[in-house]
């Protein structure tokens, strides 16, 4: 239960927060960001609604994961709230493209042989 709020907060967010600053920083400030007006269908099946996201949570987590404090700020500044939620959800387990070295070359080669020879067909359903 200790970890589940993190997961939960990560999993579903109706992106009301996407409105972000809400305004474009121009002289007359009441113009709504286009981002706030784009309908994002995938938000529809999300269940947890959080109107306010504490960027500090993500910041702390990123520092914990080895990023320097100064770099963290710049990184988070580049993300909108939807992406921030995504990042929070992804940090622990989502794909993180890393090494090209085929540590698992043997597994992959077997997979390829099985696929090439028609023993398995991973594309069957697509």
């Amino acid at each position: 239960m200790k970890h589940s709020p993190w997961r939960k907060f990560a999993v579903g967010i109706l992106s009301i927060a996407i409105f972000n600053t809400g305004m474009v920083g121009t002289a007359s400030a009441a113009i709504a960001d286009t981002a706030s007006l784009v309908t994002i269908d995938r938000a529809a099946d999300m269940t947890v609604v959080r109107t306010h996201l504490d960027r500090a949570d993500v910041r702390a987590k990123m520092e914990e994961m080895g990023i320097e404090a100064t770099a963290v700020d710049r990184r988070l500044a580049n993300l909108n709230d939807r992406e921030l939620h995504q990042l929070a959800a992804d940090m622990q387990n989502a794909p993180a493209g890393g090494d090209a070295v085929w540590i698992v070359g043997a597994v992959f080669i077997v997979l390829i042989i099985l696929e090439l020879t028609g023993v398995i067909d991973i594309f069957k359903k697509t």
Binding site: I16, F19, N20, G22, V24, T26, S28, A29, A30, I31, A32, D33, T34, A35, S36, L37, V38, T39, I40, M62, E64, M65, G66, I67, E68, A71, R74, R75, N78, L79, N80, E83, Q86, L87, D90, M91, A94, P95, A96, G97, G98, D99, A100, W102, G105, V107, F108, V110, L111, I112, I113, L114, E115, L116, T117, G118, V119, I122, F123, T126
Partner: protein
């Protein structure tokens, strides 16, 4: 226990041996010819695509630099390490790969899961960043690579990957790794470019994300292209209107917002922005007219505040009668 392990090993060897034997008699359909979109060349190689050999674990920065520099942005893998590399994961996350191009005045667009869209982008001259998985679903080994070409005749893809400047992959091998990686692919776009297979919602979402940090001129290019391609999309007009507004071209902005409202009369965001533009043009009465019927109680919080704010500004300008407003206010929008 030993027996069981031995039995498993024997089965495995038998399976492997039989597949090797089988390979002699099974031929599978080539991939690329079957997924070649109409009009695409049968062979493409974007040989001018730069190459950055990756350091350990850092295929994310290297692959991203490859597609960014290919789109004429100035950067290096070293400069991208603090932008997308996550030390504890020894890799880079997709969400940050998608977000990073904005810092360089570029949009990123997520391609569909269909191989056709990858081929189409290559045929249009854009290298494609892909995520591969060389492991298994429960034991993944993720890797980013850049596809720079294909050849239908030999059924091969050409990539910049890892430490290899040019590597040819059989299409089926490529597909196994791409499929197991979730068929994720993205392209980097200069403002004004739209992928061949683009979906309007996905593109407009990318353009809206781009708007926040972009110059009004770049933002205008991105939305203007959308207006040309999908004139029926209200968000495209709103985005172009906001770019005009930020550039100080208020009457152009008002025209675009008004067009968006003709397409989608219930779009309160467009109505709010039109009202603000009309106010700036010295037409407070017309501005108020736009928002009079809007029920703010029914709006979600951030938009609600924007409308209330606009109304407040309008009230300060003391709208009176339509007759009293300058002639430029009449019925133009």
């Amino acid at each position: 226990m030993k027996k069981r392990v031995a039995g498993l090993a024997a089965r495995f060897i038998f399976l492997l041996a039989s597949t090797v034997l089988l390979s002699a008699c099974v031929t599978r359909e080539p991939f690329i010819p079957a997924h070649l979109p109409a009009g695409a060349q049968s062979s493409v190689e974007l040989a001018a695509t730069p190459f950055f050999p990756q350091d350990k674990y850092q295929c994310g920065p290297a692959a991203l630099a490859t597609v960014l520099v290919a789109s004429n942005a100035e950067t290096t893998p070293e400069a991208l390490v603090p932008v997308v590399y996550l030390p504890a994961r020894k890799g880079s996350l997709q969400v940050e790969m998608r977000a990073a191009p904005r810092q360089f005045g570029r949009l990123s667009y997520p391609l569909s899961r269909h191989l056709e869209s990858v081929i189409e982008e290559l045929a249009a001259g854009r290298p494609v960043l892909v995520l591969h998985n060389y492991g298994l679903s429960f034991w993944p080994k993720w890797h980013y690579a850049v596809v720079i070409g294909y050849d239908a005749a030999s059924d091969k893809f050409i990539m910049r990957s890892g430490k290899k400047r040019r590597t040819e992959w059989r299409a089926r091998t490529f597909m196994v790794a791409w499929h197991n990686g979730g068929r994720w692919a993205m392209v980097v776009l200069r403002p004004g470019e739209i992928p061949v297979s683009a979906d309007p919602t996905l593109y407009l979402e990318a353009a809206a994300d781009f708007e926040r940090g972009a110059s009004p001129a770049d933002s205008r290019l991105a939305f203007d292209a959308a207006v040309q391609r999908w004139p029926g999309q209200s968000v495209a007009w709103i985005g172009r209107g906001t770019a005009e507004y930020r550039a100080g071209n208020i009457s152009d902005a008002a025209r675009d917002y008004a067009t968006a409202l003709r397409i989608d009369p219930g779009n309160v965001g467009a109505r709010n922005n039109l009202a603000q533009s009309l106010l700036d043009l010295g037409c407070p009465t017309r501005a108020l007219e736009q928002l009079r019927a809007v029920n703010t109680d029914a709006l979600a919080s951030p938009l609600k505040e924007a409308v209330l704010d606009t109304r407040k500004h309008i009230e300060l300008a003391k709208p009176s009668t339509l007759v009293g407003e300058p002639s430029r206010c009449t019925s133009q929008y």
